[in-house]
Amino acid sequence: MATFVFLYFATVIVTAASLVVVLRNPIYSALSLLVMFFHVAGLYVTLHAEFLAAIQIIVYAGAILVLYLFVVMLLNVKREERYNQQGTVALFLGVVLLTEAVLLAVSRSFAVATPDPGPEGAAKAVGNTESIGEVLYSTYLFPFEIASLILLVAMIGAVILSKKGIMESK
């Protein structure tokens, strides 16, 4: 049953991801990405990462994708030819990576180590918002502060970049 659910999510994710790249209209691409985000969130739920599933829907689908759609509507670009001249390079890289992945999957050399059982309580608490918060504010407190700095820099950068006259003053 779990495998069936996984296969459903995986098929939809891969199909929607391909549609993002293939579709001509940027709005349809963004909407296809929305479908993909929801199914990734579903995958997180099956992996007992409920907090991340909620964050995925709220931040990715709710904030980031709306920003994309807003810009697509704002720019109102005409349809243009889709693919550029790097098709051969892209094909080459894709084929190389794909064969690499297939080789790795076929050969058993990369077999993932089975986890040590560990303390039973820790394994049971995975996915709990409370335990994520505890880890985030104790072990990863410094990266957390760095993340806030990244957000501040991004905010300032976005404001500066979208000011009028920034590109004209050469």
Partner: protein, 101 residues
């Protein structure tokens, strides 16, 4: 836990390759940013799968940070796109060859 973690790795690899090909192939700047989002999501799937596999929360915390970086990247990237569009009236990557040798 009945789904083996290798399945998640295969799925993540497929999505990452699709995103990589999208970045290299498309001309539209917005689609290129969307493809970068695809690649970030592929790594996130891997993180969460391994976090669940090993019963360790560090993977989920790293997804949290990747999400922060993705949000920052989107904000700055879209601001750059708007500035470029204001200047060139185009978001076709082939039109921007100022730094091209």
């Amino acid at each position: 836990m009945s789904v083996p973690v290798e399945y998640y790795m295969v799925l993540s690899g497929l999505v990452f390759i699709i995103g990589l090909v999208g970045v290299l192939v498309r001309k539209n700047l917005i689609i290129i940013l969307l493809s970068i989002e695809l690649m970030l999501n592929a790594t996130n799937i891997n993180f969460v799968a391994f976090s669940s596999h090993f019963g360790n929360l560090a993977g989920q915390v790293f997804v949290f940070f990747a999400l922060t970086v993705a949000a920052a990247e989107v904000a700055v990237g879209l601001a750059i796109i708007i500035a470029l569009y204001r200047h060139h009236a185009s978001i076709n990557v082939d039109d921007f060859r100022l730094l091209k040798w």
